[in-house]
Symmetry: C2
């Protein structure tokens, strides 16, 4: 979820094929941010990347394929969640990454989210990206359980979505002006909720 | 937030003007759901509504004006949040309305959200709609404070967004398969969090 499609991927060895991919995907991002989805065409991307259009058609087929590869590349970055020593600190750091991505300039994350409403292939790739990010964040919850901060049996996905969803909801759908306190506020209320057992099965006298 | 643009507005007296508005807005909803934003044009709407195109241009100007009026009409419905006698019950009922709207068939709410990424005017109207819905929901929180369920000073907007945001995030952005338990789960964890003071200022020994 730390949506970091903004991040420039580490330069990998790989010669010409890797170099062309990097050029083309950079062109997709730039074209999308500057001109929007409506002017995102294979031809425009090829021209912008300085690559022959048949190369782009052959390898990516269409705009959906290009957007999916931008998202797949963004996810292929070895990202790990921060480890600050407390649940609230970890969630605040995660939320700061989400906040920065959603308010970045150029707004590549926002543009990719908007594009996911136009292209089914982009929507699937975005789903994969987020699913992978949330999975990578699960150690944040496991560490908090180990430290005794939150009850065993806490549902990691429910907790992580509760922490991050208010940012997406406010910034992407409600489109409220970005409040810089939001990452910490959402982290704090989610950590307090988790401590109180809000994401673990309700205790009942007859349990077990 | 109970996003009920699905609801058919109460038939108001008002004669020809009101009748034409109802016909045109019904045509906008049907055209959007059946053919998507790309085929939503003033001419298509006029034809579908059986209304002269100049009437539509004069009154609504363009697609943005039509979408904004669909949302304004949806908000103009006297909706009040449910009063079930408990915070968890109220939030569960609210969340069920959100869930039903986001998973409805025809998917008019989902289509309007998607359209808000295409039309700035639709985005503004959706923001107004939600802002108004969240404001109308504030009595849910005030009643819970009065009953002594949650601390005075609980931030109503933060609580209401925490309750509903996971539904929007999962169903609109993460696009996970709709889990019918989601409304109750998000309501329960938010109510438990609020009871534990997660949405009220942190007590500190020096406070006051």
């Amino acid at each position: 979820m730390p949506s970091t499609p903004t991040a420039t991927p580490a330069r990998r060895p790989g010669g010409r094929t890797a170099r062309i991919r990097a050029q083309v995907l950079a062109a997709v991002r730039a074209q999308l941010v500057e001109h929007g989805y409506d002017e995102l065409t294979v031809d425009a991307v090829a021209a912008r990347a300085g690559v022959h259009r048949t190369t782009v058609y052959r390898r990516w087929r269409d705009v959906g394929g290009l957007l999916a590869d931008v998202l797949d590349e963004a996810g292929d970055d070895g990202w790990r969640p921060p480890d600050t020593g407390s649940l609230e600190g970890d969630l605040a750091a995660l939320n700061q990454e989400v906040f920065d991505a959603l308010t970045a300039d150029p707004p590549i994350t926002a543009a990719l989210i908007a594009a996911s409403f136009r292209s089914e292939e982009a929507a699937r790739a975005l789903r994969r990206f987020w699913e992978d990010r949330y999975t990578r964040c699960e150690p944040v919850v496991a560490r908090a359980v180990q430290r005794g901060e939150i009850p065993p049996g806490t549902d990691p996905r429910a907790l992580l979505i509760a922490a991050t969803a208010p940012l997406y909801h406010r910034l992407v759908l409600l489109r409220t002006p970005p409040d810089p306190d939001l990452p910490v506020q959402a982290a704090r209320s989610t950590a307090r909720a988790a401590t109180a057992g809000a994401f673990s099965p309700e205790e009942s006298p007859s349990a077990r």
